[in-house]
Subunit: 417 residues, 2 copies
Amino acid sequence: MDNKFTYIDGGICAAKGFKASGTYCGIKRPANDTPGVKHKNDICLFVSDVVCNTAAVYTQNKVKGAPIIVTKDNLEKSDNKAIAVIANSKNANTCNADGVEKAKRMCELVANELNIPQEQVVVASTGVIGLTLPIEPVEKAVPILVNGLEYGKNEEAATAIMTTDTVKKEYAVEFEIDGFTCHLGGMAKGSGMIHPNMATTLNFITTDCAVSSKMLQKALSEIVKVTYNCLSIDGDTSTNDMVSLMANGLAGNKEITDECESFEIFKSALYEVMANLTRMLAKDGEGATKLVMCEVSGAKDKETAIICAKSVICSPLVKTAMFGADANCGRIMGALGYSGADIDPLKIDVSYQSVSGSVDVCKGGYVVDFNEEKAKKILLDDEITIKVNLNEGNCGITAYGCDLTYDYVKINGDYRT
Amino acid sequence: MDNKFTYIDGGICAAKGFKASGTYCGIKRPANDTPGVKHKNDICLFVSDVVCNTAAVYTQNKVKGAPIIVTKDNLEKSDNKAIAVIANSKNANTCNADGVEKAKRMCELVANELNIPQEQVVVASTGVIGLTLPIEPVEKAVPILVNGLEYGKNEEAATAIMTTDTVKKEYAVEFEIDGFTCHLGGMAKGSGMIHPNMATTLNFITTDCAVSSKMLQKALSEIVKVTYNCLSIDGDTSTNDMVSLMANGLAGNKEITDECESFEIFKSALYEVMANLTRMLAKDGEGATKLVMCEVSGAKDKETAIICAKSVICSPLVKTAMFGADANCGRIMGALGYSGADIDPLKIDVSYQSVSGSVDVCKGGYVVDFNEEKAKKILLDDEITIKVNLNEGNCGITAYGCDLTYDYVKINGDYRT
């Protein structure tokens, strides 16, 4: 899609009427265990000045985090209206016997403090699975969070949802609908256990554009397929994936209620934000040293393009080759071959591309003589595109991933401790 | 299945009438490039004294190595009869424009030297994909290989098919059918790019038991499902996977032509050899420090058991946790949940087991309090079983894998060079 949007600061607070706050409450360990140490935020809240039409997509993992169950239930009860979102890191509140009870309690605490209906609260958790969530720190934190709510405090929230993330992920754009200036922004968390299926890791998006709940859900479901669902860090689909999209309508435009031109503009803005957050998530994959994209073109249909592109970026052998800057295109052909897609190997062209240039490595299914030095130079860059032309049609897609490194092993060999 | 077989030495030469030989011919680099250095074997041949009924299964990767195409074609033409097998390492002869021509030439060279029909030769290659196979070294090697053929030289062949393997893999058993002593043995190669689908990496099995081609294929297809196809090192399905099974009938038993009791004994022997080779492959996975098995029980059907067990052993997060001896059972629950199997998370029990004992970590889908020290002790062993009870039926399976380590990344970041 065309880039006809202005990038702006502000993340989830870029849209009018959204306040945020974040704090450290000590979910993983007592707040006072290491005196003098400033802990990173582990819980955040953001709130709209008015009720929002809300859409959400959730993990397809059959093992679902308790917050997923509770949020889904809340939005059903509230007819897809929400005002506030509370999210914590360090504990996923999943596979716990008292998980649902605790997740509901989090919503109740927020609802009471803000004096809003409990079912208009979205709750999300990320972190270690199978650890009992201590509720006392949350009980203490909620009044502090409510008290700290401010416009423009998006960063406090964005840092509170980080786990093994090395950078916060925020993106926002400004666009125009019917002469009204609209804003749409979001924040994302995630670094490992990322292989989204219908949704991904925690992602929160807000907008002041007026859009009906139905059209919001339509836009979100469509765009998630070509952004987050084309992302894989390690092939592991999380139990707590969720994307929520809240629209409070404060921009003043006439509410979008069908597939009009305004809806297309809105979807483009949503794509812009979600695609950029997806890139950020991929680049900050656990242990990653580079962003690896696979751009598939010439597919007979979109589904084939997605299957092929994801198979390439998920292959551990491709990922380690990218880490080693090894132009081993046999591994790319191998990954395309076992993808399950109905493709003709003898039509496939493959090339590598980066800011340093581009080099063809495979033509019609056969590896060609190529300049190894040039390929090495390209693969040493920190953003690489593996271009695959299936030469069978006109559909295409880009999938986002990263390399597989020593540090991925290090981070995950010892995550809980 | 019961262990009613006697383990014997001899690998592919354990069965009567099979001779083997191996040599170094310099496929990857000129033989004389490093004077004084003794290179490892890179090509081997084994031959039966009489024509064999033969069965084979091949990779389901759509990108197939040229040797796969040629072997399949040969066995079709020969009505599943074979006498000789030639196999090389260091070059997969895949994604090469002249691949089929070269693979055929390998068969022709063997056929001419042994004075047998060309279509009774099985050819297999393993190694780097997309490198032109130099045929001159093979032309020089074939007379040497034929000249060197001897009973009991199985080790020379078993070492010739090694790539990143750190140990050769051979297994053989003796069993009795109708009072006749039969032998069945095999060798396998493989360490990375292992995620078999209907077949796996190079595996050659020989027997002197008399079995019709039809029943051989039936036995092989059945046993491969519960052995090699339950193995994953890295989730990458190779382009050159193949298992061949040759029976020369020299044991003297009446040929097995239907599903009689003898067929069951034969299948048990085949399972014994293939399951042990599978364990060896898993334990020697690239960079692996330990064998990780997932034993799923209580599944409503075998397919569900296989999907669940493979999802657990394929999960990079489970694999890194095993490397770190971290009893992070949330990752196991996560992998079961995204496996795609139709299961009820709230019925799942999980425990860890090794020679050091066993510890329950999850009951009815919820993580339980467990002795972390005991779990650590178990997970520090070099053979670990993750036991998963789905509590929904009576079917079970064991899948074989290994941990994901720094060395996997190291080996594969720099494989071609």
